[in-house]
C-alpha cells in the first residue's frame, strides 16, 4: 500500500528532517508513528499525502510513485487518502453536513449521491443529529469526528492522521480511537502520528519510532516506549 525507499528530506533552511527512511506498510494495517517532537514524524506523514516532496528516494502509494508525479496528478492521489489533523481544519462558516459534503462536491461527485453518503458517514461517527450545527457549537471530540467523517466520505483506502487526539481529553481521545479502530476493521489502512502513550500501549498495534530523522524501531505489536 505504502512503500518508502531510502527517503531523505532536507528543508530549504537546511534542516535534515529525514535521513534515509525505508518502510513498507501493507493494506489494512494500523500503524502508530511515535517519537520525540522534531524527530521527523510530521515530515514522514506529510510525505505520504504529498504535502511535501522528498529530496531523495522514492515513495509509492496505491500504485503511484508520488515522489515523481506531476503537480496536476496530486489531486488524483489525494482522493485515495483521507487526512485528519490535530486542529480538525473544519470550515467555520459551513455546517457539519456541509463540511462533510464539501469533500464530495470538490471532487465532482454527482449531487444525488452526496446526501445519502454524507448521512451514512455521519451515522458512523454518531453525529447525524448535529448535522445542521456549526463547528463552533460542537465539542472538540465532536469536531474531530466531523473531520474524520470528512476524511472517510470519499472511501479512501488510507487514513493518515497527524496527532488526532492532541487537543482532546483522555475520554474523548478514546472515543476517537475506537472510531479509528472500527474504520481499520472495515479494511482501511490507518497511519497515525501520536504522542498518546496510553493509547499506543493498550491498543498494541504496529509502532514505528522515528528519532533524529531515522527509524529506530519498527515492531508489529509495539509499545510507545517514551516517558513523555
Amino acid at each position: 500500500m505504502i512503500e518508502m525507499f531510502d527517503v531523505w528530506k532536507t528543508y530549504a533552511n537546511g534542516t535534515n528532517a529525514l535521513k534515509g527512511v525505508s518502510v513498507k506498510i501493507d493494506k489494512g494495517e494500523f500503524v502508530y508513528v511515535v517519537g520525540p517532537s522534531g524527530a521527523g514524524k510530521s515530515t514522514f506523514i506529510k510525505l505520504m499525502y504529498r504535502e511535501e516532496k522528498p529530496t531523495k528516494g522514492q515513495i509509492f502509494l496505491g500504485g503511484f510513485n508520488i515522489s515523481k508525479i506531476k503537480e496536476r496528478q496530486i489531486p488524483i492521489v489525494r482522493r485515495s487518502i483521507g487526512v485528519v489533523f490535530q486542529d480538525f481544519k473544519l470550515l467555520p462558516t459551513l455546517t457539519v453536513y456541509e463540511n462533510v459534503a464539501f469533500a464530495m462536491e470538490v471532487i465532482e461527485t454527482p449531487t444525488k449521491l452526496i446526501k445519502p453518503r454524507v448521512m451514512d458517514v455521519l451515522g458512523l461517527v454518531k453525529l447525524k443529529h448535529k448535522a445542521k450545527m456549526l463547528p463552533n457549537e460542537l465539542s472538540g471530540g465532536e469536531q474531530q469526528r466531523v473531520a474524520l467523517a470528512r476524511a472517510l466520505v470519499n472511501n479512501p483506502g488510507i487514513i493518515i492522521a497527524d496527532e488526532p487526539t492532541g487537543n482532546l481529553d483522555p475520554d474523548t481521545s478514546w472515543e476517537i480511537m475506537k472510531l479509528f479502530d472500527e474504520i481499520n476493521n472495515n479494511g482501511t489502512t490507518v497511519v497515525m502520528a501520536t504522542h498518546n502513550r496510553e493509547i499506543v500501549n493498550s491498543m498494541r498495534r504496529r509502532v514505528i519510532a522515528i528519532e533524529g530523522g531515522e527509524i529506530v524501531r519498527d515492531e508489529l505489536r509495539g509499545e510507545y516506549g517514551y516517558e513523555d
Binding site: Y49, E51, E71, R72, P75, I76, V77, R78, R79, V83, K89, L91, T93, F102, A103, E105, V106, I107, E108, P110, T111, R150, N154
Partner: protein
C-alpha cells in the same frame, strides 16, 4: 468542464460574496471609489479633448488672391489647393461676399462701409481647412507659393501655441488616466488579496481532499468578476446621473459658452463600458493572482 460543475462554481462564487460579507463590502468599495475617481477624470479628459478639438477645428487658412485674379483663376487656384491630400475643404468667398460678411460683423456701424461697393478694396478669398489641424502651417506654406496668391493668413504664432497647448493637455490627460488606472488596479487587487488570505484554510482543505487547482480557482474567478462588476456599477450610476445633470446645465442654460460638453448618448455608454471592463478585469485578475499563491502547496 461539465455544465453542472459550471453551475456549481457560479453558485458557489455568488454565495461566497454573501458568506464573506464584510470582505466583499471592502473589495466592492475599493473598486467603486477608485473607479469613481477614474471615471471623473476620464469624463474630464474626454471633454477637454473634445473642447480642444472644437477649438482646433476653428483654425483655417485665409488665402488672399491678387487683384488680377478673376473668377476663372480663382477656380484654378481652388482646384490646385484641393489637390493637396492634406486639405479637407476649400471655400471660395468673392470680394462681394467678403464685404457682406464684414458689414455683418460691424453691425450697427456698417454705415461706415457704405460706398465701398463700387470700389471694393477686398480681395477674393479662399478659406482652406486642413484634414488634421496641426498640418495647417505646412499647408499655408505650400499655398503661399502658388501663382496669383497674394498672401495667406492663419494666425501664425498663435495657432502654433494653441496646438502645443492642446497636445500638452491631451498628454497630461492620458498620463493621468493611465496612472490612475494602475493605482486602481493595485489597490483593488490588494484588497481582494486580503479577502482571499482570510480564506486560505478553505483552499487548503479543498487541496487536501483532492480538488483540482482549476476547481478551486473557478469560484474565485466568478467572485472576482462579480465584485469588479458590482463595484463598477455604482460609479457608473453616479457618473451618468451627475453628467446628465451637468450637460443639461451647461448645454442649455449657458449657451454663451463657446464650447459644448460631449453629448450624453455615446459618452455615458463609452464610460460605462470602460469602467465595467476595468472593474471586471481587475476583479478577476486580483483574485486569480491571490489564489495562485495559495495553490502552490
Amino acid at each position: 468542464m461539465k455544465i453542472r460543475t459550471l453551475g456549481r462554481h457560479v453558485r458557489e462564487g455568488a454565495k461566497n460574496l454573501g458568506r464573506n460579507g464584510w470582505m466583499t463590502f471592502a473589495s466592492v468599495s475599493a473598486v467603486s471609489i477608485t473607479l469613481l475617481i477614474l471615471g471623473v477624470f476620464l469624463i474630464l479628459a474626454l471633454n477637454v479633448n473634445h473642447i480642444a478639438q472644437t477649438v482646433e477645428k476653428q483654425v483655417e487658412i485665409r488665402v488672399f488672391l491678387d487683384v488680377l485674379a478673376d473668377k476663372t483663376i480663382a477656380t484654378q487656384v481652388q482646384d490646385q489647393i484641393e489637390a493637396n491630400p492634406k486639405v479637407d475643404t476649400v471655400t471660395f468667398i468673392s470680394k462681394e461676399e467678403g464685404l457682406e460678411q464684414l458689414k455683418k460683423r460691424f453691425g450697427q456701424n456698417a454705415k461706415l462701409l457704405e460706398g465701398l461697393e463700387d470700389d471694393n478694396p477686398l480681395p477674393d478669398t479662399l478659406v482652406v481647412k486642413a484634414k488634421v489641424p496641426s498640418e495647417t502651417a505646412s499647408i499655408a506654406k505650400e499655398v503661399k507659393g502658388l501663382e496669383h496668391v497674394e498672401d495667406v493668413s492663419y494666425g501664425e504664432g498663435t495657432v502654433e501655441k494653441l496646438f502645443t497647448a492642446t497636445a500638452a493637455i491631451r498628454n497630461v490627460g492620458i498620463i493621468f488616466i493611465v496612472g490612475l488606472a494602475f493605482t486602481a488596479m493595485f489597490l483593488i487587487a490588494n484588497t481582494i488579496r486580503l479577502t482571499i488570505m482570510a480564506r486560505r484554510r478553505e483552499i487548503e482543505i479543498m487541496k487536501l481532499v483532492g480538488a483540482t487547482n482549476w476547481f478551486i480557482r473557478w469560484p474565485f474567478f466568478v467572485e472576482g468578476l462579480l465584485m469588479g462588476s458590482i463595484g463598477a456599477l455604482i460609479p457608473i450610476v453616479i457618473l451618468t446621473g451627475g453628467y446628465y445633470y451637468l450637460v443639461d446645465k451647461v448645454n442649455t442654460s449657458m449657451t454663451v459658452v463657446f464650447f459644448s460638453l460631449l453629448p450624453m448618448n455615446p459618452l455615458s455608454y463609452q464610460v460605462a463600458l470602460i469602467l465595467i471592463s476595468i472593474g471586471a478585469f481587475i476583479g478577476i485578475w486580483g483574485s486569480m493572482i491571490s489564489v495562485r499563491r495559495f495553490l502552490r502547496v
